[in-house]
Amino acid sequence: MAEEGFLEVENLEAIITRIEQKSRKIESLLKQSKPVEALKTALEGSPLKTRDERCKSANWIVVHRAMMAIKDVDAMFSSLDPEYYDILMKYLYRGLATGDRPTCDQCLRIHEKLTERAGLGCILRSLADTVNTV
C-alpha cells in the first residue's frame, strides 16, 4: 500500500504529460480521419489505479474528444478489438454521468452496440469494479 502511494506521487506529473502527448496524437489522427485509431489511443494506458481526479478528468477529456468524433458506430466496432470493450464501457458510464445531452446521445448509441457485442458481463465488470476506475 505504501509503495502504491509513493508511485502515485512520483508519477502524477508523468501521467499528465503522457495524457497531453496522447491528446496531440489523437488530434493528428482525427485530422487524418482515423477516429477509431484515435479512440484506441485514448483508451490505451488510462490511469485506472490512481485516485487522483485530475488525471482521471484529463484522460476523460481525451477519451470524450475521440468518442464524439465517431460517426459510424458499426464501422467502429468492426475495427475495435474486444480487449478495449471493458474500458470503453467504463467511459460510457462516465459519459452518461455527465448528463450532457450530446455526450449522452453518443454514449447511448455506442452502449447499445457494445452491449450487443460484449454482453451483460461487460456491463457488470464496469459496474462492479471499484478498484480500476475511470
Binding site: 450487443e116 460484449a118 454482453g119 451483460l120 458481463g121 461487460c122 465488470r125 462492479a128 469494479d129 471499484t130
Partner: protein, 379 residues
Amino acid sequence: MAAVEIHQFAECITCHAWSPDQSMIAFCPNNTEVHIYKLLADKWEKVHVLYKHDQIISGIDWSVNSNKIVTVSHDRNSYVWSQEASEWVPTLVILRLNRAALCVQWSPKENKFAVGSGAKTVCICYYEQENNWWVSKLIRKKHNSSVTSVAWHPNNVLLATTSTDGKCRVFCTFIKGVDKRDLGEGSSNDLKFGEQIAQLDLSVTWAFGVRWSPSGNTLAYTGHNSMVYFIDDVESSPSAQTLALRDLPLRDILFLSERVVIGVGFDCNPMVFTADETGLWSFVRYLDERKVAPTSSKGSQFSEALGKLYGQSKQSTSNDTVEPSKFRGGAHANCITCIVLLRRSAATTVKRFSTSGLDGKIVIWELDNSIDIQQPGYR
C-alpha cells in the same frame, strides 16, 4: 438432452444435499427447516422435516461414509444430525460466531467440517470423543469480509475460501489428534492450524463458489464481475487464468473432472468450461437450450437471423414448434445458487449433477463427457 429431471419442491431453495446412496435429498425451502424427500414408487415424498434452527438455513452437507447431515444457519449455530432408528437426532455445535454462518462442507475424511461466516471468520469443527462434543476452532485472521464459500482439498488439511473482500485464500487446517502428519510430499507437513498458504488477489469485487479439482491440482472460483478464475499449483507456484464471461456472473461451480467445470449463476443456465491439452480454459457452451425470447425482442441483426431460423423450422415441420417453445424459459427460472455432484458407482462416462436456485426447483442434469461437451451450442 441435458436436463433429465425437474422438480418444483418449494418457492425458493437456499441449498441442497444428497444422501450417500442418492435416494434422498435434503434442502432448505428458504426458511428454518430442512426437508428430506425420498423417491418412493416413482414419486418424491417428504419423509422428514428437521427443525431446530431459528433462522434461514444457509448451508447443508450430507457426509457420504458416516451418513451425517450438517446444517448451518443465519442463527449462528450449526447442527450435526445423525440417524437413529427412523429419526434424525441433532447435536448442537456452538460455532462461537457473532454473525450468520453462510456455508458448510464436510472434509473428505469426514472427521472435520468447515463453516464460512459473515463474521469474517472460518470455523473448523471436529469431534472430541472424550467429551462427546463437536468443537469449533476459528481462523480469525486474514478475511476482511464475509466468507462466501469453503472448499476442502482432497488431502483433508488444506481449505480454500472465497470472500466478499474479493480474495481467495488457502489455509492449513491441521488439528493435532485429528489429522496425521502423513500427507506425503513436502510443503504442507510442517504448517500450523490457521496458517495462510496462499492469497489470490484476482477479483476486484465479491468472490464466490470456490472448488478444487478432484486431484487438488487446480483451484477455481468466480467473481461477481462475470469472471471465472482458474489457478494451477496453488501451494507451490500459482499460475492463474482469468476468463471474462459474456453474460451474468456465476454463483457456484463444480469440477466434473480435471478438465471440465460447470458454472451456475444469475444466467439460470449452467455453463460448461473445459481445459485443452495445454491447460487453457475456455467457455464451451450453455447446457440448457438458450432462451429465444429475450434476444428476439432486441431487434438486432443476430436475433433477426435467429428469428428467421426459428420461423423456418416452424414452417417445415409442425413437431418442431413445440420443442423450442417448451424450453423458452429454460429449466431454471431464477438464479442458480447451488450445484452438487451426484456420485455413481458404475464406471460410466455420463456425469450427473443437480442444481437448485431461487426459483425453488431442483434440476438433475446429465452430461456425457465424451460427446456432449463438444457439441456446438448456441452462443
